[in-house]
């Protein structure tokens, strides 16, 4: 059987400094040569672009460069990479929202992209009308939607509100309805961009289950961009890692996740073991934004390597922008392979309501708990049973070294995601 997706040397060049429509004056000046194009520093979002990403023209850069891969039908493919690595550009090209600059992609089957939940929903229209509208925008025929209608309504759990304008829906209902439509489209190729980061946990699980079913039972191909390593690990048979616009690794998810997480210090950290956001880049939502995350040793100094028997504090500083009720942080510690070591929450320590202001929540991990290996800190903030305030994402990684909590010298890596210090008692029962 032919691969369902074939990508050959796909490249996309973006021009800098001309994001946003150019003004007529600029063009007139350019055409008549009055003004030379200003040499804008090659930066994007305040970060300098690596030399190999600079494009042939001044002020241009490769968002995607010479990417090639093949995907067999029925695979769930995880796409990994840091922000700006080219994941979204790839999805945009595959879903034909924008054209590539070079190379080509062959898609054998109908493509539906879910780059956002509820694209094209009209707030004034009822749930029923929006199902038809959304379905049609995604390329479904009216008859197909009508045939699937009951299933969609049942999946979305909005039965009673079917004839209510969606502007009166809660955000949870809105997301459920939107995903339900997309999940029932039955395309041969489904492209999903982190849409599962919204919605409550129960529904997320249902969506992940549906995606799995789409792939295994119906033999359809799913592309799945996510920062949620747990989901990628459990759903995907195949993963692709992007770094700086290039495809750097493809293979089974375990290996690719490991490579992704071990790649050089993530994001903006100046000092090892901490990320401090100043301004625009900070992860934020309507309700809150993060200010910093720090991994501190017993003396309150940030670092990224710890002794296994010493305590570690994970300190999160955040700013509440709108009064929140019942919000909690969940900290998940992942291994480099993406397995969950354990998770913890500050729910019982949080105030019932948090008025706007700056807060700090700190998780104290005792010494004698972790194994000698690399860990990744995954953090999310949610209001249980209602919605996500900040979607789960991996932020920092750190290494635990030292003799190990078993105080036993053992040349190989010690098995286990954690290695708690436990006590033993050895007795001689018979001489």
């Amino acid at each position: 059987m032919k691969p369902v997706v074939e990508v050959e040397d796909l490249s996309k060049l973006y021009r800098l400094g001309s994001i946003g429509a150019s003004s007529l004056r600029e063009t007139v000046e350019r055409v008549f040569g009055k003004k030379k194009q200003p040499a804008i520093a090659p930066t994007t979002k305040g970060k300098t672009i690596a030399d190999d990403r600079l494009g042939p023209e001044p002020n241009s850069f490769w968002a995607l460069k010479d990417v090639s891969f093949k995907i067999e039908p029925g695979e769930v493919v995880g796409i990994l990479g840091r922000n700006g690595a080219g994941k979204s550009t790839l999805l945009k090209i595959l879903s034909r929202i924008t054209e590539p600059t070079g190379g080509r992609a062959i898609l054998r089957g109908r493509v539906v992209s879910l780059l956002e939940v509820g694209t094209g929903f009209h707030p004034e229209l009822t749930g029923r009308e929006n199902i038809f509208l959304n379905g049609a925008i995604m390329g479904m025929k009216r008859a197909e939607i009508a045939a699937k209608f009951d299933e969609i309504v049942e999946f979305a759990e909005v039965g009673k509100f079917l004839d209510t304008p969606v502007k009166r829906y809660s955000s949870g209902m809105y997301v459920r309805l939107a995903f339900a439509v997309a999940a029932h489209l039955e395309p041969e190729i489904l492209l999903i961009d982190e849409v599962l980061a919204v919605g409550d946990a129960g529904f997320q699980k249902k969506c992940l289950g549906k995606m799995d079913e789409v792939a295994t039972k119906h033999g359809r191909t799913v592309f799945f961009v996510s920062h949620n390593m747990g989901a990628v690990r459990s759903l995907c048979e195949h993963a692709i890692l992007f770094e700086g616009g290039r495809l750097v690794k493809t293979g089974n998810p375990g290996d690719v996740i490991s490579r992704y997480l071990s790649a050089s210090t993530p994001q903006d950290s100046e000092v090892e073991g901490q990320i401090v956001w100043n301004g625009k880049d900070a992860p934020k939502s309507e309700d809150m934004k993060l200010r910093s995350i720090r991994l501190l040793n017993g003396h309150g100094v940030p670092q990224s390597a710890f002794e296994s028997d010493k305590p570690i504090s994970v300190e999160v500083e955040y700013e509440v922008l709108q009064r929140m009720r019942g919000a909690r942080f969940c900290l998940m510690l992942l291994t480099q392979e993406g397995e969950v070591a354990f998770s913890a929450t500050d729910h019982m320590f949080q105030q019932e309501t948090q008025p706007p202001g700056v807060y700090k929540t700190t998780c104290f991990l005792p010494g004698g708990l972790l194994n000698r290996r690399q860990y990744v800190v995954n953090l999310q903030c949610d209001i249980p049973g209602e919605r996500y305030v900040l979607p789960a994402a991996e932020y920092l990684s750190f290494t635990v070294a030292g003799i190990g909590n078993q105080s036993s010298t053992f040349p190989e890596p010690w098995p286990g995601v954690v290695c708690p210090r436990v006590s033993w008692k050895v007795e001689e029962l018979q001489p």
Binding site: M1, I97, T98, I106, A136, I137, M140
Partner: protein, 291 residues
């Protein structure tokens, strides 16, 4: 056997994505595949436009009547522009039939890329569907606008002494022709406007003036017979003059149109539409990178 295997393959079709070459890449087949979207978009426009208003679609009945009443006072009364012996209100209502449809089409359809930037950035469908849906959904408004006109026509024809000036002939049956002409012309113009505003935002403001000036250059509140011979060229250079005048010939039996004017206007319309489609498609390929 080979053919059988081809058919049995699960892949129904192939989509090849690559940088497009040439200037004539119009996905006709795909537009046909998405015809249901056209229907849904028309429905959406109609529902969303009136859901929050008390009078709902009644607005379409009122709008032309109010405009025509204002014209009657200003152009008919104060300025004293004659209307070829046709009752003034009726004359203006007839002129506004074609013009309202035209101006609404280019107002709603003239900034397709800017109004739909978010949608276009998230999902693919043949973009041409959107301006087509504008033309189609305004057709409903046109139909509603006909109601006060027909009432007025029947009233003046049968209940007033001016009734004789109105000649209802077999030409009434030709009314769809100027309507089609208006639809096509406004389609071409809105495609050009969409393509140009996507590239140069400044032009949005310009477009508003274009519509205003265009209205004065079109024989809506004055008959062609009153235009001085020196300025006649300006009227005929405007492709919208012919359908507006043609509406009057069809519905009121009054007007002057020669074959030369009709041919010029039809050719201009066709050229604008074909080049508009090409310009629109050219911008469409990478518009999300810049809007």
């Amino acid at each position: 056997m080979l053919v059988m295997a081809e058919v049995a393959a699960p892949q129904k079709f192939e989509i090849i994505i690559e940088p497009s070459r040439g200037w004539m890449n119009i996905p006709w087949r795909e537009i046909w595949e998405y015809r249901d979207l056209l229907y849904v978009l028309v429905q959406r426009d109609f529902i969303s436009r009136y859901k929050q208003t008390i009078l709902g679609p009644l607005w379409h009945l009122l709008q032309p009547v109010i405009t025509a009443a204002v014209f009657t006072v200003v152009f008919g009364g104060i300025a004293g522009i004659p209307t070829d012996g046709i009752p003034k209100l009726l004359f203006y209502l007839c002129g506004l039939l074609g013009w309202s449809y035209f101006s609404q089409n280019i107002t709603n359809g003239g900034s397709t890329f800017i109004n739909n930037a978010h949608l276009f950035g998230k999902v693919y469908f043949p973009r041409l569907i959107v301006p087509v849906s504008v033309i189609a959904s305004n057709l409903i408004a046109f139909g509603l606008q006909l109601i006060p006109f027909v009432f007025c026509l029947l009233f003046y024809k049968f209940f007033t002494h001016q009734g004789d000036s109105i000649m209802l002939t077999w030409r009434v049956l030709l009314t769809p022709l100027p309507l089609l002409h208006t639809a096509l012309l406004s389609f071409g113009v809105s495609l050009w406007m969409s393509a140009s505003t996507a590239k140069y935002r400044d032009l949005i403001h310009l477009n508003q003036y274009i519509i205003q000036i265009w209205m004065f250059a079109t024989p809506i509140f004055y008959p062609l017979s009153r235009v001085s011979p020196k300025l006649e060229w300006a009227i005929w250079a405007n492709p919208m003059s012919v359908p507006v005048e043609a509406f009057r010939i069809c519905l009121l039996g009054h007007g002057t149109l020669g074959p030369v004017e009709i041919i010029i206007s039809v050719v201009t319309t066709l050229v604008l539409t074909v080049t508009g489609v090409i310009a629109f498609q050219k911008v469409e390929r990478t518009v999300v990178d810049s809007v």
